[in-house]
């Protein structure tokens, strides 16, 4: 098995529901807590496994805002694992999930240097490295309903922008999506072979930004103005 996520950049609305639900689930999970530093102070900061950044793609008028969630890609050739001197970082043979053994980590930061995707964050309070666990403590939990045996971020996403599945199975939901929508890996030239894939926005025809003035629009404008008064 090669478990991972597909993230649909076409429908992600950047609401941060996944990042918050990730934090909520994992802070009491196997690599928790996800410590916050001065959460009510002037510069609140802390550990997150999943972060969203926002980009403008293309130039006006052919531009688009894209919301970009990023968590661990559970890379096939994960240098974060091979550089770790203590053996705290490991990749599971059975499903490809990359984890950090909190009892072995010495907090040297070296693995975070080796990760191109910013997926690893040191917990300054615990002194150990933390990262996305692909919700390993959820996806195999027999006490949950089968539908709930998915990562917290995937279930939470209100736009269904996140999909979880097995990339080794050619007919899995994730592989089908990647095939149909032309999914991409990020920074493939570094050779990490990330498992997670990103679906690009669907092509749309651009609507002209300005409406032509017509009789109807003039009447509408006049009505709007008088209502506003």
């Amino acid at each position: 098995m090669r478990l991972g996520l597909v993230i649909d950049l076409d429908v992600c609305v950047g609401c941060n529901a996944c990042t918050v639900s990730c934090k909520q689930w994992n802070t009491s999970g196997t690599t928790g807590p996800l410590t916050d530093y001065m959460p009510y102070g002037k510069d609140p900061s802390g550990v997150w496994f999943n972060r969203i950044r926002n980009y403008e793609i293309g130039d006006y008028p052919n531009n688009k805002t894209v919301h970009f969630p990023m968590s661990c890609m559970h890379c096939e050739d994960a240098a974060c694992v091979t550089v770790c001197p203590t053996g705290a970082s490991y990749k599971r043979k059975e499903d490809g999930i990359v984890l950090v053994d909190q009892d072995k980590c010495m907090g040297c930061n070296y693995c975070s240097w080796a990760c191109p995707y910013g997926a690893r964050e040191l917990d300054r309070e615990d002194g150990t490295m933390k990262k996305c666990t692909l919700c390993v403590d959820r996806i195999y939990d027999q006490s949950l309903d089968p539908i709930d045996r998915q990562p917290s971020c995937v279930i939470t996403c209100p736009a269904h922008a996140r999909h979880f599945g097995d990339f080794d199975d050619p007919n899995s939901n994730v592989n089908k999506l990647v095939r149909e929508r032309g999914g991409n890996a990020l920074m493939p030239e570094l050779g990490y072979n990330p498992t997670n894939m990103y679906l690009p926005p669907r092509a749309v025809k651009n609507e002209p930004a300005l409406e032509k003035e017509s009789l109807i629009s003039k009447v509408k404008d006049w009505v709007n103005k008088s209502v506003a008064r």
Binding site: K42, D43, P44, S45, V47, W48, R51, I52, R53, N54, Y55, E56, I57, G58, D59, T65, V66, F68, M70, A79, T82, V83, C84, P85, T86, G87, A88, D103, K104, C105, M106, G107, C108, N109, Y110, S112, W113, A114, C115, P116, Y117, G118, E121, L122, R124, D126, G127, T128, N184, A185, L186, M187, P188, E189, L190, G191, Y198, P200
Partner: protein, 309 residues
């Protein structure tokens, strides 16, 4: 990259310690300027081990969870950091045995001493090589991902070590004719390698924001970085220095580490003036190491809005 003082101190001071050990063993193997006598070997070998130990202790300050540091020797098959730890730790029993030999009035005609001398020489080069490889093996930092990095680490360690040995010889009133030639040769080689390095990193040649986001056929601009104050990622990788400051500091490196010591060594030196040159060279190498970190750009900064690394 954030230039952590503990790591800078470690690489410079331990590097010089291993360099001194390399030069001491070399001068015994080849009787450079007649070699050293027992007491002098003991003193200079112990000095090297003190420098190495101070440096290693400083490097442990960089760990957030040092109680697990003993585990760091377990993954030497894949990790250069682990290899560095294994090499650095196995250096101690070898050095102790070797110093004991000299204490017990050994000489270079003793086979055990000869073999140990050779092993220590190879070991001291190997540790500095491993330190360099620890950085050079990271594909995520294009400015480090070059074989010039381990070469720089080895040469700068040897350079400082050779200056230290010349100083010790002056202190004991021993001849330094051959040592001076070695000094100047090492300074020149280290300086040329450093200039090559600065040329190599001159132009961005790593991934871009386009490959990082997989939008390779359009411009990509950061809109919102998604956090309101610093994160681990911005603290660790977001360090930026003004171009002007970099160029200024590079001249400090050229002058303090290479040009001034290299030129003035050609004049007949007293102990005091060589001491000043040595301090100057150390300052130069400290600045060099600070720049090594400050100038390195991690690919994760692409996600924070950098167009190129």
């Amino acid at each position: 990259m954030h230039p952590a003082i503990s790591v800078i101190f470690f690489t410079v001071v331990s590097g010089a310690g291993y360099g001194l050990m390399a030069l001491v063993t070399l001068s015994m193997l080849f009787k450079i300027d007649g070699g050293l006598d027992h007491d002098q070997v003991l003193v200079s070998g112990t000095l090297a081990m003190i420098l190495i130990t101070i440096g290693l202790m400083s490097s442990s300050l960089h760990l957030a969870n040092p109680k697990n540091a003993w585990r760091s020797m377990s993954r030497f098959r894949t990790s250069w950091l682990s290899r560095e730890a294994v090499l650095a730790v196995s250096f101690y029993p070898m050095a102790a045995l070797w110093l004991l030999q000299w204490y017990l009035d050994s000489s270079m005609s003793n086979v055990v001493t000869l073999v140990l001398t050779f092993l220590l020489f190879a070991g001291s080069i190997a540790v500095n090589f491993a330190t360099g490889m620890l950085y050079a093996s990271l594909k995520t930092i294009p400015q480090w991902n070059t074989s010039l990095v381990p070469a720089n680490y080895i040469m700068l360690g040897l350079m400082l070590g050779s200056l230290l040995l010349t100083l010790l010889r002056l202190y004991y009133g021993l001849p330094i004719d051959q040592m001076l030639i070695i000094n100047i040769g090492l300074i020149a080689t280290a300086g040329i390698l450093k200039i090559m390095y600065y040329f190599w990193i001159g132009k961005p040649h790593g991934p871009s924001i386009n490959t990082a986001t997989a939008f390779t056929r359009a411009t990509v601009r950061l809109f919102d970085v998604g956090h309101t104050s610093g994160t681990f990622l911005t603290d660790e990788f977001g360090y930026q220095v003004a171009r002007f400051k970099i160029l200024l500091l590079r001249w400090v490196v050229y002058l303090a580490a290479f040009l001034i010591p290299g030129t003035l060594l050609a004049y007949n030196l007293e102990f005091d003036s060589l001491m000043v040159l040595l301090v100057l060279a150390f300052i130069g190498v400290f600045v060099e190491r600070w720049l090594f970190f400050a100038e390195a750009r991690h690919v994760v900064t692409l996600y924070h809005g950098n167009q190129r690394v």
